[in-house]
Structures are given as structure tokens and as C-alpha cells.
């Protein structure tokens, strides 16, 4: 469905995407994962023809450079942040987007209902919260009912609640069989939304794997914040340090550094020592 061959994008002498190759099958959900500046957003912009590039991109056989309108007609794009058209009403923005795609007003009603924007259609864009703006971006992308959705850091500017809601909507879209291309630097989000992760660094692919293997493949470590019953923190610290974990006190509990796949070992060590864990969080 999407084939990217030898893609290179340079700004001056610096290649921000360097000899990038990727094929994405119909209905597949792929994350471009990496730190800021890895080149993942640039790949999306190349797919949309927003920037010049070297190499070839085809979507269902159409070349993105010479048949840009054809390619974009098959895609919906959700920007990182909808920070423009502030003075437009939600419904006017969607009508505009629909007019650019030869879509009738009935479909606007349908997508606003789908993403839960119906009570907000007469508000101006500037009056929307970050979460609602993100829903508006998704609604606009869904207008043509596209087989492919490109989502650029879809939850990066959202608070926890709005993020959960956005992920819920995106999970639903994934299960409808659409092809999703998501850029992200959140491992948890990637795990919930995609079938395959393409990790990038300095414009190149470093790892391609199942999302559950990403942290291990990259050798990423996490901190477990364990909330313990009162009075057991000192004992827990001893148990963990004897067990070879790096651990330290943290208010009512301990912080212990673990490998991506090694969280259970730390928890098992404490349970074996009879220490009750009341709650836990994973910090990356």
C-alpha cells in the first residue's frame, strides 16, 4: 500500500532523513518512534508532499511527487497541534475541509458525532481545549473516510485524560481496518496503537520490531515506583539492593531501576520477602 524507497531529506548539508526504506501493508498500523529530531515528522511531511525530497514514495501505485492530489485523497492527516484558524467556528473549519474534498455536509455531522464534537460545533477553534482540538483534527482527517491515516504526535500536547480519550478514538480507528502511520516518542502509546514499530534516530531506522519488544530491543530501562505499606521501605530497599537492583527511597515507597522486561523480577523479590506492594507506577 505505502512504499518508501531510498527517501532522503536534507536541510542544507544535513540529512534529517537518510536513505529511509519502508513498506506498509494495507490495514497495518505502524509507528515511527524516536526522540525529537529523529526525522519521523519529516517522513510524514514527505508522504504528504509538503517538503521536497530525494527517493520515491508510492501509495497504492501512485507516485507522491507527480500524483500528489491522488495520494492525498487517500489520506487523512492529523497534525500535532491544531493551532491555527482560531477565529473559525468548528463547523466552518470542517465545512472548509469537506469542500476541499468534495464532501457533503452530512458527512461533517457524522464525523463530529463519531469523535464527540457535536456539542462544540458552533464554538470557535480558539475556545476548544487541547483535547477537543485534537478531536477536531481527527474529525477533519476522517471526513473523506480515508483508508490511510497519518497522525503526527497525536497525543503529545494533551493532558492525561484527553490523551486517554484520544487513544480510545484512535484504537477504534485501528480496529476498523485503516492503515495508520503514527509518529510518537511515547512507548506506552505505541504499544496500544500499532502492530509494528520503526525506531528512528538521526533520520535512519535503528530497529523494526513488535511494539512489545521495543524497549528491550533498544535496551531502554525504566524506574518502577513502588508504593509500600507503612514501615516497609527500609526493608524493601535492602532486599532490592541485595538482589542486585539499583534502588532508592521515595516518600512512602522505593524507586527501583529495571530493564524493559525485568519489572516482574523486582516485584517477585519483594513479595518473596513478605513485603506488600500497595500500588506501582512505571516511569521512563
Amino acid at each position: 500500500m505505502i512504499t518508501i524507497s531510498d527517501l532522503t531529506k536534507r536541510y542544507g548539508k544535513t540529512a534529517v532523513v537518510d536513505d529511509f526504506n519502508l513498506s506498509i501493508a494495507e490495514g497495518e498500523s505502524v509507528a515511527l518512534w524516536g526522540p525529537n529530531g529523529a526525522g519521523k515528522t519529516t517522513v510524514v511531511r514527505c508522504l504528504l508532499g509538503l517538503v521536497s525530497y530525494e527517493g520515491t514514495i508510492t501509495v497504492n501505485g501512485a507516485d507522491a511527487r507527480s500524483s500528489g492530489k491522488t495520494v492525498r485523497s487517500q489520506m487523512g492527516y492529523v497534525p500535532q497541534e491544531l493551532s491555527f484558524y482560531d477565529d473559525m467556528r468548528v463547523v466552518d473549519l470542517l465545512d472548509y475541509s469537506a469542500a476541499l474534498r468534495r464532501i457533503g455536509p452530512d458527512r461533517v455531522d457524522e464525523v463530529t458525532e463519531t469523535v464527540g464534537l457535536t456539542p462544540h460545533t458552533s464554538k470557535k477553534v480558539r475556545e476548544l481545549s487541547g483535547g477537543l482540538k485534537q478531536r477536531l483534527g481527527i474529525a477533519s482527517a476522517l471526513l473523506p473516510d480515508p483508508p490511510i491515516l497519518l497522525l503526527d504526535e497525536p497525543t503529545s500536547n494533551l493532558d492525561a485524560r484527553a490523551r486517554d480519550q484520544a487513544i480510545g478514538i484512535l484504537e477504534g480507528l485501528r480496529h476498523e481496518g485503516r492503515t495508520l502511520v503514527v509518529t510518537s516518542h511515547h512507548i506506552e502509546e505505541v504499544g496500544m496503537l500499532v502492530d509494528r514499530v520503526v525506531a528512528m534516530e538521526e533520520g535512519r531506522i535503528t530497529v523494526e520490531c513488535d511494539p512489545t519488544d521495543l524497549a528491550e530491543q533498544l535496551g531502554l530501562r525504566a524506574w518502577l515506583h513502588l508504593i509500600l505499606e507503612n514501615g516497609s521501605a527500609a526493608k524493601a530497599l535492602d532486599v532490592l539492593q541485595v538482589g542486585g537492583f539499583e534502588a532508592k527511597r521515595n516518600s512512602r515507597g522505593v524507586l527501583v531501576e529495571v530493564s524493559a522486561q525485568g519489572k516482574g523480577e523486582a516485584i517477585a523479590a519483594l513479595q518473596h520477602a513478605g513485603i506488600t506492594i500497595e500500588d506501582l507506577e512505571v516511569w521512563r
Binding site: 504528504l48 509538503l50 521536497s52 500528489g68 492530489k69 491555527f84 472548509y96 476541499l100 485503516r178
Partner: protein
Amino acid sequence: MTASPAEVQVTVSERPELRLIAAVAKKEIADAVRSKWFWLWAGAFAVLAAILASSALPGSQVAGFGSFGRTAASLVALAQIIIPLMGLTLGAYSLAGQRETGALRFLLSHPISRTEAFWGTYIGLATALFATVFGGFGVAGVIAAAQGGGADAASFVRIAILSWLLAIAMLGIGLLISTFTASGSSAIGTSIFVWLGLVFLGDLGVMGTAVATKMPVSALFISAVFNPVEAFRLAALTAFDGSLDVLGPAGQYAVDSFGESLDVLLIAVVAVWVVAPVSVAWWRFSKGGDV
């Protein structure tokens, strides 16, 4: 809900489509109507035009002009200052401002070509400028008519049309600036600098150079028409009696050299300024730079 790829029938034309140009133009007009800057410009132009029309007292004779003519002559002076600034800033901010906020990226993520986006923007802004210019001239015209004018109504209308042509010529230059600048603020700054150059420095520069270098009158005339604001002023002034005597030797030279065709020449120069900058801006924008 989603069409499977096997069902996807892509019937998108890669050629420019009028409906897409119209959709962008309509949105630009709606943006202009919502914009406080648009109303500020339109209001300022209308108020100043009304003041000038009211001060062209009935019965007074200025260079032989009737009421409409006197008002129009005053409006030429007003238009050559305000309209370039209006057109330049509007054009310069349009693409650069949209690029800065991400709106241009959002627009071009739709199945629309850069050519369609560009001409839609241009037509929308040109329409907004049409409303501003003719609104101002309309107010002034009503006042002049109430004062008993009428003999020079045709000249008045001609100057209004020339003013709009000046506005869209400046819009084209503004859009060209917009294709070179990354942010809205630098585009506005550049456009103000260009406005100063065209409206003040160009005029003074030509005069100064002419005095210092003892420039021949032919060169003085040619230098003047290279400036779109000057070309507009000359074209507008010929509306009254077909003469540029009031401009001194250069005007006399123009009349002597070009005679009857002077009028056509000046309008052609303004037309070139309408077409050339916007065409270069379109070429730059559509060739596919990064947004």
C-alpha cells in the same frame, strides 16, 4: 465504515480545478470579513475618502475639475499612500502567516495542488481588496454626487478601477515577499520596507537622482513608470484631461512622445505590475518548496 483498498476508486484530477480555487477564495474572503485589520483598513479608507469628498467644496474650481474630479484628484493622493500598504501587508502576511501557524501545511495536506491553493488565496484577497477600495470610493462618490458633481463621474470610476489594479499589483508583490519569508512578522516588516521604497524613497530618489545627475526628461519619465505607484499616479492623472503638464518636463515629454497612446501605455504599465509579481510568486510557490 472504511472502504477497503480494493474498493478505493481514486478519481482525482491532478489538473487545477476551479471548485478548489473557489473553495480557498471563499475561505479567504470569510477570513477577511472576520479580520479586524480588514475592517480597520476599509474603515480608514472610507473615512478619509469621505473627509476628502466633503472638503471638495461645491462651486470651487481646482484646475478646472468638477466636484467628482476634485474628489477623485484628492483620492488619488490618498490611494497612492494607503492602498499600496494595504495590498502589500495583506499579501505578505497571507502565505507567510499561514506557513508560520501550520495552516498552510494543513491546507496542503488535502488533495489540493499548490497552484489551486495559491490562486484561491490570491482571488480571495483580491476580492476583499475590491470591496475595500470600492467601498471607500463609493462613500466618496455618494458625498460628491450630493454636492452636485456628475460631469467627471467617468474619471472617478476609472480612478477607482485603477486603484483596485494598484491594490492587486501590490497584493502580488506582497505574495512574492510571502514566498521568500518564513514568518508573518518578517513578511510584514519586509512589506513595510518595500512600501516606503515605492511610495516615498522611489519618488524622492528619482527626483534627487534627476537633479544630481541632470537626468534627461526621457529617463526621468521611464524611471517614474518603473515604480508601480508612480505608474498608477500618472495613469490616474491622465483621467482628468489627458495631460501630464502638471508634472513638469517629464509629463510634457510623455505627452509629446506618446501623444494619444500615453493613456494606453500607462495602463499597460500598471497591468504589467498586476501580472508580473503575482506570476513570479505563483512560480516560486508552486515549484514545491518546503512548508
